[in-house]
């Protein structure tokens, strides 16, 4: 039966219903980072940064995802994520919104160490 269901869906699946849980998430990090680098507010999550990223050629690092997670407050595991950036600055050059991405990365690094989440 399940086999037939799978076939009807043509291999597509539907993600489990999920919502942002503010009991578990913390927006503290985002607010700290925004004060330190206000241009984060300009980000429209277009993903141009992730597409050009030097580190992304070797890892699954994505600045777009990183920013989304920071904004949502899903901060667990971010520490290992942000360390992959080589700070080369390509993302800053391609960003259509003029986000100061290099400083953003540095500020996320610092906020992760400084903020009690």
């Amino acid at each position: 039966m399940s086999d037939i269901k799978e076939k009807v869906r043509f291999g597509f699946t539907v993600n489990k219903d999920r919502q942002i849980d503010y009991d578990a998430n913390s927006k503290k990090l985002a607010s700290t980072v925004i004060i330190a680098e206000p241009s984060l507010n300009l980000c429209i999550s277009c993903g141009t940064c992730a597409a050009t990223c030097t580190a992304a050629q070797f890892t699954d690092f994505s600045l777009r995802r990183l920013i989304l997670l920071v904004r949502r407050g899903e901060v667990s595991g971010l520490e290992n994520e942000v360390t992959k950036c080589m700070l080369c600055g390509k993302c800053q050059l391609v960003c259509p919104r003029g986000v100061n991405t290099r400083n953003l990365i540095l500020q996320i690094h610092k906020a992760l160490k400084n903020t009690v989440l």
């Binding site: 206000p38 241009s39 050009t52 030097t54 050629q57 070797f58 890892t59 360390t83 992959k84 950036c85 080589m86 700070l87 080369c88 600055g89 390509k90 800053q92 050059l93 391609v94 003029g98 100061n100 290099r102 400083n103 540095l106 690094h109 610092k110 160490k113 400084n114």
Partner: protein, 634 residues
Amino acid sequence: MTFNLFVIPFFGGMLFLLAVIIIRFTAWLATLDRSGRKKLGHGLLNGQIFPATWEVFMESLLHRRMFRQNKLLGFMHMSFAFGWFLLIVMGNLESRIYSGNHLNPPYYPIFLKFFVHDKRALPFELYTLPGFFRFIMDFLLLFILSGLVLAFIKRTRSKWFGMKRTTQHNKLDKWAITSLWLIFPMRLLAESFTAGVYQGGGFLTNTLGMAFASFLPVEHLYYPAWWAYSIALGVFFVTLPWSRYMHIPTEVLLIYLRHFGIKTGKKPDSFTDIEIHSCPRCGVCIDVCQMNYAGKTDATPAYFLRSLRYGKQNAIQDANCMLCGRCHQVCPVQIDTVGIRMASRYIDNVLVSPSYNYLDSIQIPEPRVDMLYFAGCMGHLTPSVKKAMVKILDASGENFSFMDEDGSVCCGRPLMMAGLPEAAGELIRKNTETIVKSGAKTFVTSCPICFKVFSEEYKLPGIEVLHHSQYLLRLVESGKIKVDASPVLAVYHDPCELGRGSGIFEEPRRLLNKMVCLADISQQREHALCCGGSVGDLAMNYNERTVIRDEALKILLEPNPDLLVTACPLCKKTFDNGSDVMVMDLAEIVSERMPESSDSTLFEAPVTQSRQQASLSQEAGKEVKFPVCNPELR
């Protein structure tokens, strides 16, 4: 009589100053790192002390670099430094001859005219030059006072001294400068009054003294004037170690240490502290700093170093700098402002700890080649440059490999600029491994940012690191590539990291002169502007960068060129977004001027366009100037 109570402010101040300087210098030298101490030891023994002493004479006394900056500024400074130095030397000689004693109290020569006022010529002078000392001491005083007058004028007419802006001093500096400015007028008054009473003095003090005596009770005035002179000296000496005037002793130490080969470290250490204390806040760097355009005057080196010295700097001040090095270029003390900025970022970013474990898993290809080409991260954002380079290299028949064709590990320079040398070290290790394994003898990169770190920080034995401007010139001059000339009028923008950063000014110009008409601009070579796109700055936002870029473009496009040429992908990308004139990289021009090139129409298009614009503005009554650099071609 060789003592009077009024010498105490001077003498106390002098002893205090000496004690502070000895303590500071000892502390600095004792806390040099191991390699610094080693270099200090070697330097003292291997004769470096002589060129260093010569530089101390030329810079600390004659102020050669200040003269180069502006003649009036140089004279003003020299009159203070060299004039005062000579006054001390001659005063000492004079007092020795007067007293017939080699060991006089240190205050004796300073206040000699108070203690000795007989007019009899000295035995020494009697047979050589009568009245020599009376003349020379007055002349030197006049020399210093002329500098003082200039310093007064500079307060309101700084433009005469080649400075648009001057440093806004803090309270302590104002105390110090006031006392310094009072010293010599007070000396003049004290000596003149004394000369008025005792009919002594030279051409200046005697004349003035007699004039004063005719309408002033000089016999009551001369003693308080000596007190005022001594107090001015005392206040200056006591404020000196905490004011800008600490640069006087510290610069001497700095020059010696620099000659011994000590350089600014990657982290703040005692050498950076010496450099910080050597800054006189003369403000020459303020005008050249492009951060002014972005309204960030407090980030200019004079203020930045001041904040650093008093522990008041913040991370934003550290981050607000494009590391272009224009300030270092003009600095009369040659303080490594760029290095200090990077070192202080080290402290700011001490919590930033990247980890690049994934580098180990990257497979290194093993093609045996003669030459490696590295486009660099920024190079990948200007694909036309990459394409041009590949085309040229193919045509030259070079056995090459495109090291980062499918993406690269960053060179590490951006991390170093952010004050993260350890993290950069990881990238450097990986790239070194890749380069060495390739077996290449030549390594060529298109990116000056990469070039600087590859040539300075990488240890690549037997491998020559070149920027593509150098390599392309070599190809053209050796005949491996042929290029033809064109009537295009171009200006060349020196990228910071290539020009000032690595000293490469000539190669790009020699190469360009074979292909285009090169016009001079007002700010070029060592004085070239930063494009505003620098990865050196961490804090500026996009709009502020745009302002800096547009100001730079104004100067670059002054000669009305058809083409703006640069040799850095980041400069190209930055200018591209704001220039009406076509922006091209050197490599692109070479590729298009190769005879077999089919796409030279692209090269002609901007020319036609800018000619049309020029004729339009000529019709509109505007004057259009085209510098003639190669009349045959134009």
